[in-house]
Each structure stands twice: as structure tokens, then as C-alpha cells.
């Protein structure tokens, strides 16, 4: 957590002032019982109403000043923590943007969202509470103790013992309760999962008349949750009674010793009253202090998760060559790849090549490594072994910026970004491209009717992730985005899976006729999408099991034959191979 202190550097003034004002408020608060003691010992006893009035006015003034101090402190704390959070988040986000995909995978992609949105807030909140309470609570707790020592040494000792004991109680109960509470949360998660599974399988459950069995299983989880809840309840139920006992036993001790001391004249009655007041202040602040410690430990766990991101530096080295002059020829030379957190390779020993303007088809089932192949082509990842060649050179030699202008990939799981259709297409076309160029790219990608269906045309709004567009619209727009870039290598990874057959056929026609200079890598599960490719790579479970033209593969590759048999009329497949 300390490492993140650097984000406070623009708020040094606030960092000093916030706790200082907080301290002032606490000091004024502590002074009040002393004044009350004076009122009783001198004012009431002597019947000095003037002293009483003067003291009361003093108390009111102190209280008002205290309020002003408190509010000032809160403002500074709010300002510094919000500024801290924003600086931290900006930096974190920028850092994540600079990482390579392999680094992101290693950190855990989905966790990055919670790190940016949640963990930063957790730390920010920790900072806020720290500056509000770190001086105040200990100051009140130990200040009360110091005041007690000032009044009388023996009384101070009683305070010391009480504070240590109370602190131990609060801390122990909290620790045990928090640990057990994790168990409750896990049990609740199981309830959630069980219910979700039940709803997912509702048709099968009813088909097999399993409703009763499901209820029994749910009942067991539910009972387990109940048991855990009651058990945690028993522990946390101890907190209030124990601290109450502790603080009030301290009170008894203060009065008992006080009585003796007043009897021998070493203490005054008003001072006993003041001590009683301090006792009750201690308890309130002690509980706040324990809360703060718990909060800080949570924040520091979050800070840990953020530092993990900051400690990850980009693992992919940039090349120096300019890829803008490279032609679109592409080749895999004995390429293998294993994902960062996986032990089995997703792709092993794949080799193929394509001259500029040629088309390579890649076919295989789910999990056969097709998408991995696409990602290696555009250097989302680097191959673990072997070489990926573009324009006769290893793609690692090129600078990433120029490489990315030379090749585009369209994945099945298409990403659109909030903004407008135009802003999305401009990602590919660049900020200065004329609108006509965007429209032409859309026409090639069979997306003209998407534009036509929106009254605002190119200006039509795109919501987060493109959720206001259908799957087919998203796919066509993302193909348009890729085409707008005029790449020399275009990789389509199941990019037409959401299109109907007729549209897909038209798109296929455009790709093979209107983009003659562009090298195409078409990845699909459908034979119809790749059968006319110059060469086809057949993948099965990460391994290359066939390479050649459609006709060659029908003769030589049993896996390819099987795929074709399930998708093509038998007449087309037979006549090849053994029969």
C-alpha cells in the first residue's frame, strides 16, 4: 500500500491539513470534560454562576470551532482521496493498455475490470478513512488515557489496562468473525450456483421429473448456509456485550479507586466526573479504530492486487523494421504455441504459406486451435516455437505500429466500442478518411443495409460493446472496419458465423473478387467457406492433420473427409479416397 503513496504527491498540503484539523476537533472534544469538571468543582461548589456561564460559553465556542475544523478536515480528506483515486486509476488503466495480451492473460483478463473499478475504490476509501481517523481515534483513545494520567497516575493505569484489554477483545472477535464470514459467503455462492444450474437445466429436470431431487439437494445447501450463519452470529454477537462489560468494569474500577483517593484528598469529585466522561469516549473511538484497521487490511489487499499489475511489464519486444513496405505473403514455419497459464500446447508444429493475394483456409472443430492461429498471425501473441513470416521476414522484426496497419483480424466474438458507427469504422480508416471511403468499406462488407436501417446513418450511436446491434450487424461492421484499413493480410476467424447463408455467400464473393491484392486467411467450421481456398490447413486438437487443396485433402485426410461427409452431399465427397 505504501508504494501507492506516490499518487498523493500533488496533495501534500491536504495530507497535512486534513489530519491536523481532525486533531484540533478531537482536542476541543477532549477539553470539554475538563471544563465540566471545573464547572462542578469550582462553579457549583462555590455557587459561582458567573464561572458557570463563562465556562459554558467557552464550551459552545470550542464546539463551534470544533465543527468548523471537522468539516474542513472532511473536505480536505475527500479532495485528496478522490484525487488520489483518479490519478491511481488513470495510471493503472494506461499501464494495462501498454501490456501485451500474454501479460493480460497471466494477470487474469476478467480480474482486471474489478481491479480498475473496485480495487482502486477500495484503496481510495482506505486513504480517505486513514486521513480522517488515523490521528483522531488514537488521539482520543490515548489522549483520554493521557488525560487520566494527568489527573492521576493510578487512574491512568486503570485506563491503560482497560484499553489494552478492549483492543484485544475487539480485534479477536473481528478476526474470527471475518474469517468465518468468508464461509457464509461461500455457502451463499453455492446457493447461487445451485439455483442457476437448476434454471439452466429446467427442461431436462422436468423431462426426467427431477424436481423433488433438486429440492432435496437445495435443502441441504440451504441448511448448511443456515448452520454457518448461526455460528458466525454467535461469534459476532459477543462483540457488544464483551466491550460493554470491559468498559463498564473499567468504570467501576475508576469509581472505586476514585472514592478512596477523594477520601484521602488526592483527587476531587469533579475529576471523578471527568474520568467517567473519558471512559465513555474511549469505547466509541476504540471501535472506530478497530474498524479502521480492518478496512486498511482490506485496502492493502486491494493495493497488493494493483501492485501486481504495476509490476507486470510488457513482455513483447517491439521490432524496428517498417512493415508498410512488406508484401502480403505469409507463412507459418513449424509454429507451436502454448498459452501462458496452460501446460498443453494449443497449436503444435503448424506450417503453411500463402503468396500475396492468395487465400488459405483453416478448418477444424471447437478447441482445435483455429483462433490461436489467427492471433499469432497478427502478433497478439508470439509463437513459442517456430516462425511466423510476413513479407519474407519474421513478424517480430517489424514495429508493432506498422505491423498492425498491414494486417487485420476479425474474430467471431466481435468487439464494437461505444460511440457511433463512424467512430468505430474510423478505428480502421483513420481520422481523416472521407465519409465515402467508410461507406464503400461498409458496402464491401455487406453492411450497407445496417447504415440504411438507421436514420442517422454513419452517425448512429453504438452502445457499450455494440449491444444495440445484432450479432450479424456487428460482424459485418467489424469486417467493414477491417476493410477500411486496406490491410495486405486479412484474417477472418469465423467472422461470418452470425450471417445467414445468402449474405455469407455474397460476402465470400466480394472477398474473392474485389480484394485481389489482399492475402486472406479464412478460418471456419464450415467446409463451404474454405473449400475454394488455394490451400487448406486442417487442425484437430492443435495438431495439423492435413494441408492441401480441397480435392487433395478429400483423398489424403480422413478428418477432413469426415467433416465434409457431415456437411456436403455424399456424391461430392465420394469418388475420393478409398471408396
Amino acid at each position: 500500500m505504501l508504494r501507492l503513496v506516490r499518487y498523493l504527491r500533488d496533495y501534500v498540503k491536504e495530507c497535512v491539513l486534513a489530519p491536523l484539523f481532525k486533531l484540533l476537533e478531537a482536542a476541543f472534544g477532549l477539553a470539554v470534560p475538563l471544563i465540566v469538571a471545573q464547572v462542578i468543582d469550582e462553579g457549583v461548589r462555590a455557587g459561582d454562576t458567573g464561572l458557570i456561564t463563562r465556562s459554558v460559553i467557552l464550551m459552545v465556542v470550542l464546539t463551534v470551532v470544533g465543527l468548523v475544523c471537522a468539516i474542513t478536515a472532511q473536505y480536505f480528506a475527500a479532495k485528496l482521496s478522490a484525487g488520489f483515486g483518479t490519478r491511481l486509476r488513470d495510471d493503472l488503466f494506461a499501464h494495462i493498455m501498454s501490456l501485451a495480451q500474454a501479460d493480460i492473460d497471466e494477470l487474469g483478463g476478467p480480474t482486471l475490470i474489478t481491479r480498475v473499478t473496485n480495487d482502486t475504490l477500495q484503496v481510495q476509501n482506505g486513504v480517505f478513512m486513514f486521513f480522517r481517523l488515523i490521528l483522531r481515534s488514537p488521539f482520543v483513545v490515548f489522549g483520554s488515557m493521557a488525560m487520566a494520567f494527568v489527573i492521576d497516575g493510578t487512574q491512568g493505569l486503570i485506563f491503560l489496562v482497560a484499553i489494552v484489554a478492549l483492543f484485544a477483545i475487539v480485534f479477536l472477535v473481528m478476526r474470527v468473525a471475518i474469517r468465518r464470514y468468508a464461509g457464509v459467503q461461500a455457502a451463499l455462492d453455492r446457493i447461487v450456483r445451485r439455483t442457476q444450474e437448476n434454471l439452466d437445466g429446467v427442461r431436462s429436470i422436468r423431462a426426467f421429473r427431477r424436481e423433488g431431487a433438486e429440492q432435496a439437494a437445495f435443502g441441504e445447501e440451504n441448511d448448511a448456509l443456515y448452520g454457518l450463519q448461526v455460528a458466525v452470529g454467535k461469534v459476532s454477537a459477543l462483540m457488544n456485550p464483551l466491550t460493554y462489560m470491559g468498559i463498564n468494569l473499567c468504570l467501576i474500577a475508576v469509581i472505586a479507586t476514585g472514592a478512596v483517593q477523594v477520601g484521602v484528598g488526592t483527587l476531587q469529585q469533579g475529576e471523578v466526573v471527568a474520568l467517567i466522561n473519558y471512559v465513555s469516549q474511549v469505547l466509541v473511538e476504540l471501535i472506530k479504530l478497530a474498524d479502521l484497521i480492518v478496512l486498511l487490511s482490506r485496502s492493502s489487499a486491494s493495493a497488493e492486487r494493483l501492485n501486481e499489475v504495476f509490476d507486470t511489464s510488457r513482455s513483447m519486444a517491439d521490432g524496428t523494421q517498417d512493415a508498410s513496405g512488406a508484401d502480403g505473403s505469409v507463412a507459418f514455419r513449424d509454429v507451436s504455441f502454448c498459452y501462458p497459464l496452460s501446460s498443453t500446447p494449443s497449436l503444435s508444429h503448424v506450417s503453411f504459406e500463402a503468396a500475396p493475394g492468395e487465400t488459405v483456409g483453416v478448418i477444424g472443430g471447437t478447441g482445435s486451435g483455429k483462433t490461436t492461429l489467427a492471433r499469432l498471425l497478427v502478433r497478439t501473441y508470439d509463437a513459442s516455437e517456430g516462425e511466423v513470416i510476413l513479407g519474407g521476414r519474421d513478424i517480430r522484426d517489424y514495429s508493432l505500429a506498422t505491423l498492425r496497419d498491414a494486417c487485420s483480424v476479425v474474430e467471431q466474438d466481435v468487439r464494437m466500442f461505444s460511440g457511433t458507427i463512424e467512430s468505430n469504422l474510423r478505428m480502421g480508416a483513420g481520422p481523416d478518411a472521407p465519409a465515402g471511403e467508410l461507406e464503400r468499406a461498409a458496402a464491401l462488407a455487406q453492411a450497407s443495409d445496417v447504415l440504411a436501417s438507421k436514420p442517422e446513418g454513419l452517425e448512429a450511436a453504438v452502445e457499450e460493446g455494440g449491444r444495440n446491434l445484432s450479432g450479424g450487424q456487428r460482424q459485418r461492421l467489424s469486417i467493414a472496419r477491417a476493410l477500411a484499413r486496406k490491410p495486405r493480410l486479412l484474417v477472418l476467424d469465423d467472422a461470418s458465423s452470425a450471417l445467414d447463408f445468402a449474405t455469407e455467400a455474397r460476402l465470400r464473393h466480394v472477398l474473392s473478387h474485389d480484394l485481389s491484392g489482399t492475402t486472406l486467411v479464412v478460418i471456419s467450421q464450415r467446409v463451404s467457406a474454405i473449400r475454394h481456398a488455394d490451400r487448406i490447413v486442417v487442425l484437430d486438437d492443435g495438431a495439423q492433420v492435413g494441408y492441401g487443396t480441397h480435392d487433395e485433402l478429400l483423398d489424403s485426410c480422413p478428418v477432413y473427409r469426415q467433416i465434409c461427409l457431415s456437411q456436403l452431399p455424399e456424391e461430392e465427397v465420394s469418388g475420393h479416397g478409398e471408396d
Partner: protein, 584 residues
């Protein structure tokens, strides 16, 4: 507005009725609350009396002091013990109540018609069963533990203070409203800013989610800087509104503390002046001061509890709403069990709509003789899935009849009808439990040998035998340890064992992995032998071997016949066939 108020009143009353089942516990909670708040309040009186006996040097009545200290000790122990029992008792009450509510909600889901389940996001239902019940119980707990003691504390404090001195009490009473006014004013401001902050945070989160999920695309297009700028803009908005929201929220405590302090000082002033006049003792001043200290606290607690309770009643309303939904219409009283069937299935002019007025099946008529294979083909949304829903009686048709062996399905119990169908869907469902339990699902009385036999017939035996504990391997709900293909083989084994006469198959649209895929295909064709089968077909081989193909479009059967007949017709079927299976 008035309506939601009435609804929420209904919710409160209903929650109370639920709690009525715990009458004994509630009486216990009430008694304990009275004990806790009165012993807590007696303490300052006792310590005040003790202080009164400590006047000055040589003027300390130790006997009196000791007597009051002993009383104090007794009060402290009583308070602590009753407080613990109070918490424990209310925990048990509320957790028991929420367990009960969860069981009811889950059981309710089992009885809801699919029309409800299909039209409500499952995440929402899950959250009602799990989170809403949880939030309700949190609110009720706070209510039970703090509301009663809070109110009692305020009332008793005033009574005790009145007992000590009326004038001083009136001073405290007069300043109190100030606390409410200030707190309400701040709360209003901070509520506005908190909403703004939440909005701003929502926008920020949406952008982060979008950017993280689309990171490869951002990298691909070199769009890092643009994305970062957008983020920084939103983050700056969040900072600006965050300062205000945090600031106002954090002002509540200091200001209420300020008002408390004013009450404290006011009490001190008046009490001291009256002490000078001899109307109040010094010990009574200390008692007053400690009352003044703690009497405002319950106000804060109660307002926190009230807002917590409001939130939890909103949750309760969502749970009750689920419990109030109409259930599946029960089987007709004269409905009979369907015994052994031949598998003759007929639909006569069946019409159906999910939403009244928007018919999705327009008069479907078909007849499948025992043992026939019917392949249903057509584009997405043509009504294929709806047909399955009607055959299984997940839904009932608006008009027309569906009959099995000549008996309309309305005259058959749902359970026995479903027992006669075997169903294999695309995403095969696996229950938590052993592999053997999963296979046995369709016929619980089957022996181990029969289970193994069915697995062999379904070609599932090889992978099951490779599992660490074979047939006794425990599967997670959802079967996450198995591959999609293995889950499907398991479901086929399940149907094999049940030996139904009629089958419903929903073929996978895309291949799973080439080798398992072949096995699944083989297992399915074994399964179909001699059974009446309806197949939502995607594979050419299945379609071609069907006895009859139904080509559906927009809720109508537009063509029917064998593959050759339909190709010769060169109509709708021929056109889908060409687009899908022949290349351009």
C-alpha cells in the same frame, strides 16, 4: 406513487405475518430488549449516586459507594448477558425465516410454468432466491436488534431524566429537533450527489469493461491512446462528483456530533445552575451528562435502521412477487397415467403464441407413425424449438390437439407423458452427483449392470471408465469436468437406459470436436433405431435418412416429404439446402 405505497404496506404486513410464526422468539426478543435498555439506563443513575457519596477528603461514604458499585456490577452483567441472548435469538429467528423463504422460493421455481422462466432472466430469479432473501434478513436483524432497543432507550431516557429533573429534561428535548433538521438537510444533498456519483461510476465501469474485453481489438487498431483519453475524461468527472458525494456524506457525523455536544452543554448549564440553587445534586449532573451523551445515539441508529428496512422490504416485495406467480396448471383430475406406448404422435391444427396476439405456430398438422424419423429443418425463428416445447408439454397450445397413441396429451399426466419421451438437447444437462446417478435418472430402479450396458450402447463407456472413479465419479452441477461431447454422450446413455418409445433430438449446430462428434452421431443413430424420433436437424446425413422432412418457415410447415422428393420440387427446402451445403 399511492399504489407503490399500498404495495409496500402489503409487503410489510406480509413480512410481519411470516414473523408471526416465531411468536415465542419475538416475545423473547421484546423482553430481552426491555431488560437491555433499562439496565443500560440504570447504570448512569447508579454511578451518579456513587459519585454523590464521594464528596471530598474525609467525606466519602465507602459503604454507599460499595453498595452502588455492586449494583452496577449486577446491571452490567445482566445487560451483557441479555444483549448476547438478544442477538443470538434474533439471529436464529431471522436466519430460520430466510432459510424457509429460500426453500419456498426454490420449490416455487420448480412449479412455475416455463413461460415464466423463459421470459425472465435467470440471473434475476437467482438473485431473488439468494441475494434478496439475504438483504431482507439483514434488514430484519437490524430491525429486531436495534429498533426496539433504540425506541425503548429514547423513551426510558426521557422518563429517567424526567425523574431526575423536569427542567433539565425540557432543555434536552428542545434542542433535539435541530439534530433531525440538520441531518435531513445533509442527507438530501448527499443523496443527490451519491446518485450522480453512481451514474458516473457506472459510465466508468462500462468503459472499463468494454475496453478490457476488447483489448485485443484496441491493440490491433492501435487505439490505446484514444481509449486512454476517453477513460481519463470519465475518471475526471468521477473525481469531481466523488469529492462532493464523499464530503457531504462525511459531514453527517460531525454535525450530529455537534448537536449532541450542544445538548450536552445545555444540560450541563441548566443542571449546574440548578445545582447551585440546590435543586440538583452533583451526582445527578453526571447522570444527566451521561444521558445526554447516549440519548441522541438511538436517533441516528433508528434512522439508519429505517432506511435499511426500506431497502429490505423492497427485496421482500421481489421475493413475494416470485412466490405469487401463477403455477403450472395442475393435471386434469381425470388425467391418466400413460403406460406403454407405441409412439404414434399426431398434431392437429396446432396454434401457439408465447405472447398473446403474436402467434408463432400457425396451424401445424402432422402425423408420425411408430418408429418414424421426422427431421425438422428451417431458418432460426421458424418454430422448431417451439415444437419441442409443445411436444414435451413445457407449453400448451392455444388451440388444436396433440395426441399420443390417439389420446390427447391434455388427458395424460405430464409426468407420465414426459417419462415416455427421451430428450437430448444441444447443451446437455448434467446434475450434481455421480455418473451412475446421472445415467439412472430416467429409470431409478436400474441395476449397475443395466447402467453400464446403457453407457456401452451410448458409446459413453470408454470415457466414463477413464474417469478417476469410473461410474462413481462425482460430477459438479453442470458437469464442468466433462467436455461438451462427453456430456452429450452421458445424456444419450441416460435416454438409452430409460428406453422411451419416443425421442426428441436437438442436433448440435456446430461440431464439438471431430472425434467425439463422430461418436455422438453414431450413438444417436443407434438410439433412434425403432423409435419415433423428432430431430431438429442440422446434419445432412440425418436429414437425408429421415422418413419425412418438415421444412418450416415463419411458424408454418411449407413443405414435407423425403429429401429426394423435396429436392425434385426445387422449392424452399431446395433453396436452404443449396445455400447451406453447396458452395457458391
Amino acid at each position: 406513487m399511492a399504489r407503490t405505497e399500498a404495495a409496500s404496506k402489503g409487503t410489510v404486513r406480509r413480512t410481519m405475518r411470516l414473523m408471526g410464526a416465531y411468536r415465542a422468539e419475538i416475545v423473547g426478543v421484546a423482553i430481552l430488549s426491555v431488560i437491555v435498555s433499562s439496565t443500560t439506563l440504570v447504570l448512569p443513575v447508579l454511578s451518579g449516586r456513587a459519585v454523590d457519596a464521594i464528596v471530598g477528603p474525609g467525606d466519602v461514604d465507602m459503604l454507599v459507594v460499595e453498595r452502588y458499585l455492586a449494583w452496577m456490577a449486577a446491571a452490567i452483567v445482566t445487560t451483557a448477558a441479555s444483549q448476547w441472548m438478544l442477538t443470538d435469538l434474533s439471529n436464529k429467528l431471522v436466519y430460520d425465516l430466510s432459510r424457509d423463504l429460500r426453500t419456498k422460493a426454490f420449490a416455487k421455481i420448480q412449479r412455475l410454468p416455463l413461460s415464466y422462466l423463459d421470459s425472465h432472466p435467470s440471473g434475476d430469479l437467482v438473485s431473488r432466491v439468494a441475494n434478496d432473501v439475504d438483504l431482507l434478513s439483514n434488514g430484519l436483524l437490524l430491525g429486531l436488534q436495534q429498533m426496539l432497543t433504540g425506541v425503548l432507550t429514547i423513551v426510558l431516557t426521557l422518563v429517567f431524566m424526567m425523574g431526575l429533573d423536569v427542567t433539565v429534561t425540557l432543555v434536552a428535548l428542545c434542542i433535539t429537533p435541530l439534530s433531525f433538521v440538520i441531518a435531513a438537510a445533509i442527507a438530501r444533498r448527499s443523496y443527490v450527489y451519491f446518485n450522480k456519483q453512481n451514474e458516473s461510476r457506472g459510465a466508468l465501469t462500462a468503459l472499463v469493461k468494454e475496453s478490457m474485453e476488447g483489448l485485443p481489438t484496441i491493440h490491433d487498431y492501435g487505439y490505446e491512446d484514444e481509449t486512454r483519453e476517453r477513460f481519463e475524461e470519465l475518471d475526471e468527472d468521477f473525481r469531481a462528483v466523488g469529492i462532493k458525494a464523499t464530503f457531504y456524506a462525511s459531514c453527517v457525523n460531525p454535525t450530529t456530533r455537534f448537536v449532541n455536544m450542544l445538548i450536552y452543554i445545555g444540560v450541563c448549564l441548566v443542571a449546574s445552575l440548578r445545582a447551585v440553587a440546590g435543586l440538583v445534586t452533583v451526582g445527578e449532573i453526571t447522570a444527566f451528562l451521561s444521558y445526554a451523551n447516549q440519548y441522541t445515539k438511538p436517533f441516528n441508529d433508528i434512522s439508519a435502521v429505517v432506511s435499511e428496512l426500506q431497502a429490505s422490504f423492497a427485496c421482500a416485495a421481489r421475493v413475494f412477487d416470485l412466490l405469487d406467480q401463477a403455477e403450472v396448471e395442475p393435471d386434469a383430475p381425470e388425467a391418466r397415467e400413460l403406460g406403454h406406448v407405441e409412439g404414434d404422435v399426431a398434431l392437429e391444427d396446432v396454434r401457439f403464441s408465447y405472447v398473446p396476439g403474436r402467434e408463432v405456430l400457425h396451424g401445424i398438422t402432422l402425423h408420425a407413425e411408430p418408429g418414424m424419423t421426422i427431421a425438422v429443418v428451417g431458418p432460426t425463428g421458424c418454430g422448431k424449438t417451439t415444437l419441442i416445447n409443445l411436444l414435451m408439454r413445457f407449453y400448451d397450445p392455444d388451440s388444436g390437439t396433440i395426441s399420443v397413441d390417439g389420446t390427447p396429451v391434455g388427458d395424460i399426466t405430464r409426468a407420465s407423458l414426459r417419462g415416455n419421451w427421451g430428450m437430448v438437447l444441444q447443451d446437455a444437462w448434467v446434475a450434481g452427483g455421480t455418473v451412475a446417478d446421472n445415467i439412472r435418472m430416467g429409470r431409478p430402479e436400474a441395476t449397475d449392470a443395466e447402467v453400464a450396458e446403457a453407457a456401452r450402447a451410448a458409446l459413453a463407456a470408454p470415457f466414463i471408465e477413464r474417469l478417476p472413479e469410473g461410474y462413481d465419479t462425482v460430477l459438479e452441477p453442470g458437469g464442468s469436468q466433462l467436455s461438451a461431447g462427453q456430456r452429450q454422450l452421458l445424456c444419450i446413455a441416460r435416454v438409452m437406459l430409460a428406453r422411451p418409445r419416443m425421442l426428441l433430438l436437438d442436433e448440435a449446430t456446430s461440431s464439438i470436436d471431430t472425434r467425439t462428434e463422430l461418436r455422438v452421431q453414431e450413438a444417436i443413430s443407434r438410439l433412434m433405431e425403432g423409435r419415433t424420433s423428432f430431430v431438429v436437424a442440422h446434419r445432412l446425413s440425418t436429414i437425408r435418412s429421415a422418413d419425412q422432412i418438415l421444412a418450416m418457415r415463419d411458424g408454418r410447415i411449407v413443405e414435407r416429404g423425403t429429401h429426394e422428393e423435396l429436392l425434385a420440387k426445387d422449392g424452399f427446402y431446395a433453396s436452404i439446402y443449396k445455400a447451406q451445403f453447396e458452395s457458391a
